[in-house]
């Protein structure tokens, strides 16, 4: 496959930008506010990790970007998703379909259910080229083999006619990556791409993904709950909690000195591999129900430093600075008391 750097980069306009996105789900217990004003950007060649636990809204945001949100019960109630400055949410379904797969592609957690079990992987890979590029069957098949080689599936030529269930979990995930890469998209969204895999296989797949991202100069949005995976590959991180981003930071900064109590709690609550450690710190309580998000800061019932203002006022994302007021690039925190959190 030819690796060209011919992406039209418009100066000043981010490759992909999510702006103040709101998504609700209709449930029996009322409206579940899954995403409440999320904004982030990703540029070419950059890896943004969206970190959050289940119910934080990280996957719903991704589904909204891809336009694969189930509506109903889901509903976008506000915001924009800008791809090179163009709002995807106001596009017609037809225009949108051209963007999906071609410009923005997605890798799912569960490769077995994301691949069609009754079609060979070669056919499924080739289909992309036939539909989007109008190639002939033979050309498409050749392209499929090339892609499978690219994601290092051994004996790609022989295996191109195999069906998804004939591949191991790691190999299936490679095929998913190949499908996402097929049309050389500008942005790849990977939703927990290695969560279902074993540690040794996980390392292989993450390495492959990082290498391909570098080679193709793509923007990568990595959605995960795993602080280890994030530390390994991300450039910058957005931490989500109850449908909001609570902290933005470059990767080294975040791990060194988190500026939000939730991030700090998460970092303290994971056991270490390199030493035994004392009793784990545990964030008390449970993530809130999305139908009844606490007033003020959503994290306040679980926060050790919550005060009255935290229960009444939703903290906006504030710029984080050094103690002397020097700005720290790319750092924001949605905590009224970020200063105490980061500088102690």
């Amino acid at each position: 496959m030819s690796i060209e750097m011919t992406k039209a980069e418009v100066p000043g306009v981010p490759l992909l930008e999510v702006r103040d996105l709101h998504v609700e789900f209709h449930t029996r217990d009322g409206a579940a506010k899954a995403v409440n004003g999320v904004s982030y950007t990703v540029d070419a060649g950059e890896t943004l990790a969206v970190l959050g636990e289940s119910g934080s809204g990280k996957s719903v945001t991704a589904q909204t970007i891809m336009g694969i949100l189930d509506t109903p019960p889901g509903k976008v109630t506000g915001g924009q998703v800008l791809f090179r400055g163009e709002d995807l949410l106001t596009m017609s379904e037809q225009e949108r379909r051209r963007v999906r797969g071609d410009k923005i592609a997605m890798i799912f957690q569960d490769a077995l259910s994301a691949l069609n079990p009754v079609l060979s992987v070669g056919y499924q890979l080739g289909e992309l080229f036939r539909v989007h590029r109008g190639m002939s069957r033979r050309e498409a098949r050749a392209k499929a083999v090339e892609l499978m080689d690219r994601v290092r599936i051994p004996a790609a030529k022989e295996r191109v006619n195999d069906y998804p269930h004939q591949f191991s979990g790691g190999m299936r995930q490679r095929i998913m990556i190949a499908m996402a890469l097929a049309l050389e998209p500008d942005v790849i969204i990977a939703d927990e791409p290695t969560t279902a895999l074993d540690v040794t296989v996980q390392a292989q797949v993450m390495d492959l993904l990082a290498e391909l991202q570098r080679d193709f100069h793509m923007g990568l949005i990595l959605i995960t709950h795993d602080l280890g995976v994030v530390a390994d590959v991300a450039d910058k991180i957005a931490v989500m909690y109850a449908g909001r981003i609570v902290e933005n930071a470059p990767v080294h900064e975040l791990y060194k000195r988190p500026a939000h109590p939730y991030t700090r709690g998460l970092l303290d609550s994971i056991p270490r591999l390199d030493h035994k450690g004392k009793e784990l710190y545990a964030i008390k309580g449970l993530p809130p129900s999305l139908t009844a998000i606490p007033s003020g800061c959503a994290f306040n019932p679980r926060c050790t430093q919550a005060r009255d203002v935290c229960r009444s006022e939703i903290p906006p994302l504030l710029d984080v600075t050094e103690p002397d007021g020097t700005p720290i690039g790319g750092r924001t925190s949605a905590c009224h008391f970020w200063k105490e959190t980061i500088h102690g």
Partner: protein
């Protein structure tokens, strides 16, 4: 049990009257490690809700459940107390009330409301009294097949191995016999056929579907971890079957049973129509439809009314089964 130290201190929080979502917030004052241990007790939603009560909560709001349920309730009352609905006797034949006397809407629910049949009997009284045969046979067949079919399916599914092989082959053999044809052959060999003869004949060949559904359902349920948990506690087979497997495996069987009930009522009507269902002088919609067909051209009403009621009854049971299936479907929860 030695009273553990930390939870004792923490126990005060959950015991407070407003131990709802507030409990999590109330705890932190008690010191860090304790708070960590107990705080999770906080947000569990309101009152206890079993899956069945959830389903009921759902069903009550669905017209597709409420309407057939009300109709079935009415039919049950008719079946038990037909005298409440008509004063006329279904057997009183008065040939002055010739069948050419068409329905008269002088007043509702009078004997002449739906006209008379060939023998001068009130069509209205006959369909009222005919309800019992249909409902009784339909319900008893269903109860019998549910008990027997569930038992066979449960044993086959739970024990597997040769038990499964034997019981499944037995089920296959019975499934191979055409249902209506088989019951006909059985019933023809009886001179007089009461409601019980027909019930047993239908149940004898009808249990196979239930057995298969139950077997599949049990096989799925027995792999659940809570069954393994019960086994590792030392629970006996009986307890596992009755407490863990059956309550979780029974939902699809109930749905199939409700849908099948409509089928059994149809079968009874078909058998009676063919003259091998209930013997005279029993009153049944099927038998009346049979007798009415010879006069269909000049007196269609004799055929029409029992047919309408039969259709409504069957449709009600089918709709009820569908509604219950939707309510119990875990995917919609």
């Amino acid at each position: 049990m030695p009273e553990p130290q930390e939870p004792q201190a923490a126990a005060t929080a959950p015991n407070s009257p407003d131990a709802g979502p507030a409990a999590g917030a109330a705890v932190p004052s008690q010191g860090a490690p304790v708070a960590v241990a107990v705080a999770e007790a906080g947000p569990a939603p309101g009152r206890p809700r079993s899956l069945w009560s959830d389903a009921w909560h759902d069903l009550r709001r669905r017209p597709s459940f409420v309407i057939p349920a009300l109709i079935i309730l009415l039919l049950l009352v008719i079946a038990v107390f037909p005298g409440w609905f008509t004063s006329a006797s279904p057997r009183a034949a008065d040939l002055t009330n010739h069948y050419l006397q068409k329905p008269q809407l002088t007043h509702f629910f009078s004997p002449e409301w739906l006209g008379y049949n060939q023998q001068g009997q009130s069509v209205y009284a006959r369909i009222i009294y005919g309800t019992r045969a249909s409902i009784v046979i339909g319900l008893s067949v269903t109860v019998l097949v549910m008990i027997f079919g569930s038992l066979v399916g449960m044993l086959a599914g739970y024990f597997g191995g040769w038990v499964d092989t034997v019981l499944s082959r037995l089920t296959d053999i019975f499934l191979g016999i055409p249902f209506l044809l088989g019951t006909m052959v059985i019933l023809v060999s009886f001179d007089t056929r009461s409601e019980w003869t027909v019930t047993l004949a239908l149940a004898f060949l009808g249990w196979t579907t239930i057995a298969r559904v139950m077997r599949g359902s049990v096989i799925a349920v027995k792999q659940a971890d809570y069954v393994a948990a019960a086994r590792s506690l030392g629970a006996g087979t009986w307890r596992i079957l009755m407490r863990h497997i059956l309550p979780n495996a029974v939902a699809p069987v109930i749905v199939v049973g409700m849908v099948a009930l409509g089928g059994y009522i149809t079968a009874e009507a078909v058998l009676s129509f063919l003259g091998i269902g209930l013997s005279d002088p029993a009153i049944s919609w099927g038998a009346d439809i049979n007798r009415a067909q010879e006069r269909i051209r000049n007196a269609p009403h004799i055929l029409l009314y029992p047919s309408i009621l039969l259709s409504i009854t069957i449709l009600s049971f089918l709709m009820l089964g569908d509604a219950v299936r939707d309510a119990l479907d875990p995917k919609l929860r």
